[in-house]
């Protein structure tokens, strides 16, 4: 039975949200331009009502889509493509933004929420700001409209409520139009990570929040209230800066924990697309604050708040239109919306540019010359550097779009970002970062009082000397023998120390104003953390054995990776390390289980314990118990010892993911000063796992010990069984299973070979394998008369794995810096909201 109703309902909500957004736009527009106060209020009420309807419709879309996913209605394309029945509940939420339609929806959702907050907090600005909000919402709703205009064959938007049979022309739908798949394709296991539950909503809230200052800026131009929009817009800019920054950093943290490129930032076009608007957003916060304090930089504030939103739209266009197709490792699917996205971008670009040009002459400017010793000068310099820093990233990231643009005009352009984008971008960005560090150290002093030449010298002397001294010490201790790096170190320390000094002074007099100093301390710490963790990350898994891992691999690979055999200790990074074998992870309990201790069944998700299973002294499962696992993940247990004592154990992961590619995720041992970051660089190949030696047959007594590949072994039991791999055996067969206990170096293993004898036809032999020891035992024959059995034993290379490990110094400084930065943002936001509320209470909003 297909569930048509819920999809139709969802689609109905989409249409309602689109129409109500248009109605709200029109009503609020009329409310803005009408002079008659009674009719103005009428239009305002209309607009408010339409926007509430719109917000309810958006909620309706969200709920219906969620119900489709949650109830596993696989007749819907969205549920089929992004979820499956095995998916745990909390990840069902992530499927939401796995698809493009869902991420547009998330964006709309946040706009709706923020719109309601605006309606409740503003009187004067409500109508103009909300008319801009509503028109943006109408554009976004059109992205998920999924309507084809008849006659023109013009598709508008891509609906998340499309049926599978309409999305995929599988021949089965011709035969059986009501066909519903039993299960979905599932969510990319890489995204099944707690960060991926909170990172996208945070990022999209940041995206959505940039619309608020943009709307206020446009409303300011529109109503010729050139000065008044800054106060209500500023707390929102700071809010957007904090949330967007947090979202970006969460993405970086996810990459650090989950991807194995060894870092938190890869300068991928997708990352750049949010980094650039964030930098410009931060610049806009600075110019807005400057304006509030000194009546300068008003024009710059207009330009920047508009630029931020246009850049957000531009990055949406870049990442979703398929333009980046050849340039990014992230796979983008082109939903055929590139035209619509381009229209969206151009509409807002042209409207804001035209409006700004018309009003440009009227925007008040300060005629005062800016002195080098004024705070305006330093802040303006800082904002400029931030914008140029963003511009440097924007240019190469736009190459693919530029190429297409030039080709469309009949020209020829074939620019590409170099393969090693990290080196390419870092080389430029480091100089901007140095400038930011120094400017924020010096500029902050001008912030607080009018300062003359002598005063600034007095104030700066101590921090400068301290920063220089520390730099000299650290350069020598940590061997920072690179001019750029040493300067960055100095810049980071200088801004940290200067701002700490300011913070000390401010906390004593007026703690409410400490946001700026705290945020800049965070930036300083982040610069130092980035410098050491990225610039001085060293490979510690050096191959000093003199033996190549493989001839056909590059020299670098052979030098920087370690081949570990099970239970054969090696030296690495001052530890004695020992690889203990492959582990799996149970679905419903936490811990790791030895692959050799379970029996696999026909269902890849279910295994049976061969013996009582423990993890860290805690019993997980009893022998014979069935339980569920994550079959796509294998963990490689590596023990780190010092002087014979276990210091820690790492479990780097390898995910076999046929749909999305194999993925090695690191395990990280975190210490205050250093992270040890280990990942699998080559797992044991399937060929090596099947490379068994010629079998050797032995006849053993039931009670006697014997040697299997030099391991002491004994027979625990011989019994008749009625099920093999979870399947009942036909009564014409007799199955006998021997349980053989093998004493390995570290633990006892159980091998359970099975002999199947057919009364009418041939039977079969299922060997018992202990991969960790490279041992395969088959039960060949049973001799009840002599109480003996015949076993056939073959061996192969013990399990191995190739790993790469890196030491990343001071990563923690980076994470601490980000937390400090966020605290600073929060303090600043609280202060500006208070200011806004005070003014509002006075009726000056």
């Amino acid at each position: 039975m297909l569930h048509y109703f819920i999809g139709n309902l969802g689609h109905f909500f989409v249409i309602v949200s689109f129409v109500s957004a248009l109605a709200a736009t029109y009503s609020y527009f009329k409310a803005t331009v009408t002079d008659d106060p009674v009719r103005k209020e009428g239009w305002n009420q209309n607009g408010k009502f339409s926007f509430y309807v719109h917000a309810l419709a958006v909620m309706g879309i969200v709920i219906t889509l969620f119900l489709i996913i949650k109830n596993h209605y696989f007749e819907y394309h969205y549920a089929y493509s992004h979820s499956d029945k095995k998916l745990p509940g909390y990840y069902l939420v992530s499927t939401f933004w796995n698809g493009q339609e869902g991420s547009f929806l998330l964006w709309m959702f946040w706009h709706a929420v923020l719109g309601i907050v605006i309606i409740f907090t503003n009187r004067f600005w409500e109508a103009p700001v909300m008319s801009i909000f509503s028109v943006v919402q109408a554009f976004l709703a059109s992205m998920i409209l999924g309507v084809v205009i008849p006659g023109l064959e013009l598709k508008i938007g891509s609906s998340p409520f499309i049926l599978l049979r309409d999305a995929m022309p599988d021949p089965i739908f011709k035969v059986q139009p009501d066909f519903i798949p039993q299960d979905g394709v599932g969510l990319n296991p890489l995204l099944q990570n707690y960060w991926m539950v909170i990172h996208p909503p945070t990022l999209f809230l940041g995206f959505a929040a940039t619309l608020v200052p943009f709307s206020f800026g446009i409303a300011g131009l529109w109503l010729k209230r050139y000065r008044e929009w800054i106060r209500p817009a500023l707390p929102w800019s700071i809010f957007a800066g904090a949330i967007l920054g947090l979202g970006i950093l969460m993405g970086g943290y996810w990459a650090y924990e989950t991807l194995n490129f060894g870092g938190y930032w890869n300068w991928d076009p997708v990352e750049n697309a949010v980094y650039v608007p964030w930098l410009v957003l931060i610049a806009s916060i600075h110019t807005m604050i400057t304006y509030k304090n000194s009546e300068t930089a008003l024009k710059a504030s207009f330009i920047l708040v508009i630029a931020v939103f246009i850049l957000i739209l531009y990055s949406t266009f870049l990442t979703r239109s398929g333009v980046l197709g050849d340039a990014s490792v992230h796979s983008f699917t082109d939903l055929g919306l590139s035209g619509q996205l381009l229209l969206y971008l151009l509409f807002f670009f042209l409207v804001s540019v035209v409006l700004a040009v018309i009003r440009w002459k009227e925007i008040p400017t300060s005629s005062r010359e800016v002195s080098t010793y004024s705070r305006e000068f330093w802040i303006f310099m800082g904002a400029t550097v931030l914008c140029l820093m963003g511009f440097q990233v924007l240019v190469p990231t736009s190459f693919p779009a530029w190429n297409q643009f030039v080709v469309a005009l009949g020209g020829e352009s074939n620019l590409a970002i170099p393969g090693d984008q990290v080196t390419y971008f870092s080389k430029f960005q480091i100089w901007f970062a140095i400038a930011i560090g120094i400017l924020s150290a010096v500029g902050q002093f001008f912030w607080w009082k009018k300062i003359d030449r002598q005063e600034i010298k007095n104030q700066l002397f101590v921090p400068l000397i301290l920063a220089l001294l520390l730099t000299v010490v650290l350069v020598n201790v940590a061997r920072v023998y690179n001019v750029g790096y040493a300067l960055l170190l100095f810049a980071g320390l200088f801004t940290t120390i200067s701002n700490a000094k300011i913070l000390y002074a401010v906390v004593k007099t007026n703690p409410g104003l400490s946001g700026g100093a705290v945020a800049h301390i965070g930036i300083g710490l982040m610069l130092v953390g980035v410098l050491f963790s990225s610039g001085y990350s060293t490979v510690v898994s050096l191959n000093n054995t003199g033996m190549l891992i493989s001839r056909s691999l590059s020299e670098e690979f052979n030098r920087e990776n370690l081949l570990l055999f099970v239970n054969e200790p090696r030296e690495m990074a001052g530890y004695e390390i020992e690889y203990l074998g492959e582990r799996i992870e149970p679905r419903h309990k936490s811990g790791y289980i030895n692959k050799s201790d379970v029996e696999y069944t026909d269902d890849p998700y279910t295994v049976i314990a061969k013996k009582d299973l423990e993890f860290k002294g805690k019993k997980l499962y009893s022998a014979g118990e069935r339980f569920e696992i994550y079959p796509e993940n294998t963990f490689y247990e590596i023990e780190f010892r010092k002087n014979g004592k276990v210091v820690f154990v790492q479990y780097p992961r390898l995910q076999v993911n046929p749909r999305f590619g194999n993925m090695a995720s690191p395990d990280i041992n975190r210490k205050v000063s250093l992270d040890l970051y280990t990942h699998v660089s080559a797992p044991m190949t399937e060929e090596a796992k099947e490379d068994w030696s010629e079998a050797e047959e032995i006849k053993v007594k039931r009670t006697e010990q014997f040697f299997a590949n030099d391991y002491v072994s004994s027979i625990e039991s011989i019994e008749r069984i009625y099920e093999v791999g979870g399947q009942k055996i036909d009564s014409s067969f007799v199955a006998i299973r021997a349980s053989i206990l093998v004493r390995g170096e570290r633990q006892e293993y159980i091998a359970q070979p099975i002999l199947i004898i057919g009364t009418q036809s041939r039977g079969g032999i299922i060997p018992g394998i202990i991969p960790e020891l490279g041992l395969k035992i088959s039960l060949m024959n049973v001799h009840p008369q002599t109480d003996e059995i015949t076993l056939s034993v073959s061996t192969r290379q013990k399990d191995w794995v190739v790993i790469k490990a890196l030491e990343k110094p001071l990563v923690n400084i980076l994470w601490i810096g980000t937390l400090v930065l966020m605290t600073g943002f929060t303090l600043a936001m609280v202060r500006r909201f208070r200011e806004f509320r005070l003014m509002k209470a006075k009726g000056l909003e």
């Binding site: 299960d183 490792v329 240019v395 393969g419 590059s554 690979f557 749909r659």
Partner: protein, 136 residues
Amino acid sequence: MKKTHIFIIIIIAVAVAIIVSSTSEASTYVTFSEAYQLASNGSSKSIHVVGQLKKDHAGRVVGIEPGADKVSFSFMMIDEEGKEQQVFYNQPMPQDFTRSEKVVVIGNYRGENFYAEKILLKCPSKYQETELNARV
């Protein structure tokens, strides 16, 4: 001239410098013949080549040869001008490699062989997927 004007001129100068330096250090999309030409002129810069995997008349991918240890591999690629070239890659074969409809290799010629440092794949998007999952 006012200070503001000088400031604007400096910003424009820096912006132009950024464009020039970013562009001059950029890599380029070229064909195999152009890449070969570049390498024989002594350039060791990495470039991008776009193309497809070589396929037989039945649409099966041909020319993939695993390295001795199965961890590296080489394959035959045909660029947009139709030139065929063996490409060596020092890492395991990316998943979905044979399903890709378009391949971008980033690397350069060393002698007669093309060595890729990085491979980007473009796989058919979900809307072009015409077959359902086998688990029905």
